[in-house]
Amino acid sequence: MIRILVDPVACDAYGYCAELLPEAITVDEWGYPIVDGKPLPPELVSAARRAARDCPRRAITLRERKSGH
């Protein structure tokens, strides 16, 4: 199971991630990403990888988690 992690220190609210992955990332009123925290459905993994790669601040990482944790 893959989880999206946002580094809030690195993030500067570019907002690319929410545009690339609106199914899992929304933004707050100031433009900072909110991750819904649910396990990422397999069909969204490639879009999530792109969101992580395209973040200008490198603030997004994908974490592999063993299920049950």
Partner: protein, 434 residues
């Protein structure tokens, strides 16, 4: 678990009761009263293992806010190998807290003994005492104590004092380790808090001053005396600073599990308290129906509060809890390290909502907007600074629900422009006036 016979033996005489306050200040008197710190002779693997077992048996939880078990932190630091740093966290950034200042002024050797014991237990090579810049009365007491220990050869591991900036978030353990390491007093993003902090290439063990004083006492009394005070699941004593609408504000030592109202009464409240703020400015309001709640982690969690740092602020009857909350969140917003968007923008927005609410200037959408902001800001900082502000604001909306309804309907609080019953550092107080 301690031996039952041992527990009874310590319980029989009042003078033998475990306590942190009231021990001598000077090194000579300190050693005469308590004996020298029971340090090992030379490198001693058996002693280090026994010391970890002692900490485990005591059940000591950290007294700096998070309440994390001292034994688990010690085990992690021991796993980090030799050559590390013990950081004495005397930053005490909470404006309503005086306990660590008091400890370092009255019993500095107890705190420093605790640091020496942990240095021996982790094979650390230095001890760094962090007292914020400008806090001269504490720094002078520590300086005197360090000189005494040097002269008496009571500091096998070198002890030095440093002065990080005096900010609310500077005492957060990753910010403190970061400042010692690189001069940057900023909390770091640590998704896995179980990983030991590092300074340079070595392990750093950061402990609140009170926690270290307990370590030094437990090493002398054994775990039973400590566990004989407080609750089985939350043992020992705690230092609590009581302030607000009271006649005798100050620091008291209480047993874990003492009812909240009994702690407040030690400072002689002026009249019947309207509410109690527990745990600090990032803590939570507690309503009168919960005043009998035991001061213990689990009991407080059950009513949406946390023990946090030992702080009880009494809110008198002629104060507006919402206005005080607005002042507190405004203060916390100003103390943000400025790194994370949700904290930088969210806390001022929440403070503004609370202020408008207290002044009877709420627009129709305010309560819904505030609720959304509290949900969205919670848990989205690198450190827990914004979470504390959210907890404080949420508890205010619950505890002062009647006021919320009245003020939202356009009736300002009759007390909104009264002077605050809370303490704020001078420069911040100027900013938080509405």
């Amino acid at each position: 678990m301690p031996d039952a016979g041992e527990v009874l033996a310590t319980a029989t005489t009042e003078t033998d009761r475990y306590r942190l306050l009231g021990h001598p200040t000077d090194l000579g008197a300190h050693i005469a009263a308590l004996g020298p710190a029971p340090l090992p002779t030379g490198a001693n693997r058996g002693w280090r293992d026994a010391f970890l077992a002692l900490m485990e048996a005591s059940g000591l939880g950290g007294r700096g806010g998070a309440g994390f078990p001292a034994a688990i932190k010690l085990a992690a630091a021991q796993g980090g190998g030799p050559g590390g740093t013990i950081v004495v966290n005397a930053m005490e950034g909470e404006p309503a807290s005086d306990k660590d200042k008091l400890l370092l002024i009255r019993s500095p050797h107890l705190v420093l003994d605790g640091a020496q014991l942990l240095a021996a237990a982790t094979r650390a090579r230095r001890i760094i005492v962090c007292v914020p810049e400008g806090r001269h009365h504490v720094a002078n007491a520590v300086r005197r104590a360090l000189d005494e220990r040097m002269a008496a050869r009571c500091a096998p591991v070198p002890e030095v004092m440093v002065h990080p900036p005096d900010r609310f978030t500077a005492g957060e353990e990753s910010a403190l380790a970061g400042w010692v390491d690189s001069g940057r007093s900023l909390p770091s993003f640590r998704p896995d808090k179980g990983v030991a902090l590092r300074i340079g290439r070595h392990a750093a063990l950061v402990h609140n001053a009170e926690t270290l004083a307990h370590v030094a006492m437990i090493a002398r009394t054994g775990p039973a005396a400590f566990r004989n005070r407080g609750l089985a699941e939350d043992p020992g004593t705690s230092l609590v600073t009581v302030s607000g609408a009271v006649e005798h504000p100050g620091v008291v030592e209480i047993e874990r599990g003492t009812p909240l109202i009994d702690i407040a009464r030690r400072a002689l409240p002026a009249g019947e308290p309207q509410a109690l703020l527990i745990g600090g400015y990032g803590g939570a309001w507690v309503a009168p129906r919960h005043f009998a709640t035991p001061y213990a982690s689990l009991s407080l969690r059950a009513i949406g509060a946390t023990a946090g740092v030992g702080i009880v602020v009494v809110l008198g009857s002629t104060a507006c809890g919402l206005m005080e909350s607005a002042r507190i969140v405004t203060y916390l917003a100003g103390q943000s390290a400025g790194q994370c968007g949700p904290c930088v923008y969210g806390l001022p927005a929440i403070a503004g909502d609370l202020t408008r609410l207290a002044r009877g200037e709420a627009d129709a959408g305010l309560l819904g907007r505030l609720d959304r902001r509290l949900r969205e800001v919670d848990g989205r900082g690198a450190c827990r600074h914004p979470d504390g502000a959210v907890q404080l604001a949420r508890s205010a909306l619950q505890v002062f629900a009647d006021d919320v309804a009245a003020h939202a309907a356009g009736a300002p609080c009759p007390y909104w422009n009264r002077a605050s019953q809370f303490r704020f550092p001078v420069d911040a107080a100027a900013k938080v006036r509405p």
